[in-house]
């Protein structure tokens, strides 16, 4: 019987990569555990991986307290993300569809304009002046309209539509379908994978956006969750500092509240993540294969 040599490479390699993966996820696990723990073990530095003295009082407090504005922020974020994503998908699809039709005159020039706008950025201040003139400052529309058409995602959608054979369109024409029917009955159903892809891109970017609400939304009633996070944790001012309190025998400390707020801002991502990962990968591939 021959002695089998131990292969060191796979062992070391696998261990290091798993460790790396854990580094990516550990901060989130720690935050989740803190938000579900009692305040006392948190402040004593005992919470690392698992919650100690498990309870959900912090969440009840955070979601029930109107002064913190977290429930409202959550509502605003969901509203912006859902509305914004629907508008963006529709706008991107019809634009990509029109630009992918060869019978549309001037489509090459229009595409060049889009590409140019992607490379040359006017910058913060000129955009602010235009958005201000359009009445978008302190309006919910600012979260929905300016981001509703991304040139990058337009290119992805267009290259997808280009891959659908034009014979399909011709035969539909011969069958008597008009322009509108061809788009809605032939191309739209075939485009669901790419629409899901760009939808995920748009949704994640709206949910995560920070600069736009920071600059354009002064009214606190309109603030999305990301801005509330900024106000509560990064720039705590006098009005929002938390007091220590005891609810149902559980200590709720500022650390608990911060952790719960952070976790709420991640929460929806956890649901879309499995889909998002798949589609993001697909989108990356589509986007990178050009020529």
């Amino acid at each position: 019987m021959s002695r089998k040599k131990i292969e060191w490479f796979p062992i070391v390699n696998n261990t290091l990569l798993i460790l790396l993966a854990l580094i990516c996820i550990y901060p989130f696990l720690n935050i989740l555990s803190v938000s579900l723990s009692d305040g006392v073990p948190v402040i004593r530095g005992k919470v690392y991986l698992w919650p100690i003295d498990f309870n959900i009082e912090t969440y009840k407090y955070v979601l029930g307290n109107t002064r913190l504005g977290i429930t409202r922020g959550l509502f605003n974020s969901i509203f912006y993300t859902v509305t914004g994503t629907v508008v963006a998908i529709l706008l991107t699809f019809v634009t990509a569809y029109a630009l992918s039709r060869k019978r549309l005159k001037g489509r090459y020039f229009i595409m060049l304009l889009f590409l140019f706008s992607m490379i040359f950025d006017a910058g913060l201040i000129p955009s602010y002046i235009v958005n201000n003139a359009l009445g978008l400052v302190n309006s919910r529309w600012i979260m929905i309209l300016p981001g509703a058409l991304s040139t990058f995602l337009l290119i992805i959608a267009r290259s997808f539509l280009d891959t659908i054979p034009s014979e399909l369109e011709e035969s539909a024409f011969i069958d008597g379908a008009n322009e509108w029917q061809i788009m809605t009955r032939v191309y739209l159903p075939l485009s669901t994978p790419v629409l899901a892809t760009i939808g995920v891109f748009y949704a994640v970017s709206i949910w995560n956006s920070f600069m736009t609400p920071l600059i354009y939304l002064q009214d606190q009633a309109l603030h999305p969750l990301q801005l509330i996070l900024y106000r509560l944790i990064i720039k705590p001012d006098g009005g929002t500092s938390f007091e220590n309190l005891t609810v149902n025998g559980h200590q709720i400390l500022p650390d608990n509240i911060e952790a719960a707020t952070i976790f709420l801002a991640i929460f929806p991502i956890l649901f879309v993540y499995p889909f998002a990962q798949k589609y993001f990968t697909k989108g990356m591939m589509l986007g990178s294969i050009k020529g």
Binding site: N13, L20, C24, I25, L104, I110, I125, Y128, F280, T281
Partner: protein, 317 residues
């Protein structure tokens, strides 16, 4: 007779064009919202750039404000703070490139060597996760982990008998934190393109190498890496094109006046000029600074693109 014929031709050509437009009218209607979006949100701000050459006054508007030529640019160039901003911008972007660029490649190379499908999937999924998290969440987590009293890192330093550090208020720590967080945020995502390229390598090459007696390292360095060279060069050139761009969200979230000396960059300076200044917002000056950055960035991207086109036959546009 001849004249009549020409008229006839023009007439039919025009009617054909009209007929074409009428038949495809829906396409043009469909294009309208997208065009309106392009004009309003992308092209109109470009005209707003003229305020960089004005002494812009909100009440007078663009047409009423006084023209001052290049005054705003000269003021900026003469300001000693300009050099600090430029240095900070270049250093942050440069370090991000230097440390952030090779990591996704190495990660993809070593992940490719994992034979266990479960480990592979697990590692890839988790490494990808931070990419979905907003800057506000990441920086919030950073604050809680690095908090001087209760933060995990300082507790660890305490256990080791070291002095606790107030990371977010130390100018010396900013660059490392910014670059480190950037890597943590996006190395998994960045590796996708390399993993895809690796998946496209012809397996026969590996089989042939096996027969020739190549070991794992040989295959990694003589087959996988050379196969990736085109995409690596392309990605590198494109990254160089973005050397003046930093993640403004992250900087605005992470910096504070006590660390401006290392953390303030061109864009955050523009932001402060217009939106966070105590006095009257200086739009024109901010727009001039922003225009300077956009022009340099565009020159860099376009030249990087043409270099990429020349050497690797891959291009962005």
């Amino acid at each position: 007779m001849e004249l009549k014929q020409t008229q006839q031709v023009t007439y039919t050509a025009r009617s054909r064009l009209l007929k074409h437009l009428w038949n495809t009218k829906l396409l043009y209607v469909l294009l309208l919202p997208g065009l309106a979006h392009l004009v309003l949100f992308k092209l109109a701000p470009l005209f707003g750039l003229v305020i960089a050459f004005q002494d812009y006054n909100t009440f007078l508007g663009i047409s009423g404000s006084e023209w001052v030529g290049l005054d705003n640019f000269i003021t900026f160039a003469k300001d000693p703070y300009f050099l600090v901003l430029l240095k900070n911008t270049l250093l942050l972007a440069g370090y991000s490139l230097l440390f952030g660029f090779p990591i996704p490649i190495l990660f993809a190379l070593f992940l490719n060597e994992v034979r266990n499908a479960l480990v592979k999937r697990f590692t890839q999924s988790l490494s990808f996760f931070p990419y979905f998290i907003s800057s506000a969440v990441m920086v919030s987590i950073l604050y809680t982990l690095l908090s001087p009293q209760t933060g995990l890192v300082n507790r660890l330093l305490d256990v080791l008998g070291l002095q606790s550090i107030f990371f977010m208020a130390e100018p010396g720590w900013f660059r490392s934190l910014y670059v480190g967080m950037g890597i943590w945020h996006s190395f998994g995502y960045g590796s996708i393109i390399y993993l895809a390229a690796i998946a496209g390598i012809d397996p026969h090459q590996y089989e042939a190498a096996d027969i020739d007696g190549a070991n794992r390292w040989h295959k990694m360095f003589y087959i996988t890496l050379p196969s990736l060279s085109t995409i690596i060069v392309t990605m590198f050139i494109l990254n160089i094109g973005n050397i003046l761009s930093v993640d403004l969200d992250k900087i605005l979230l992470m910096y504070n006046p006590s660390i401006y000396e290392t953390a303030d960059v061109i864009q955050s300076f523009v932001y402060r000029q217009a939106f966070a200044s105590q006095g009257f917002p200086n739009y024109s000056f901010g727009a001039a600074v922003g225009l300077f950055q956009s022009v340099v960035a565009m020159v860099l991207v376009v030249s990087a693109n043409s270099i990429s086109k020349k050497y690797s036959e891959t291009r962005l546009f």
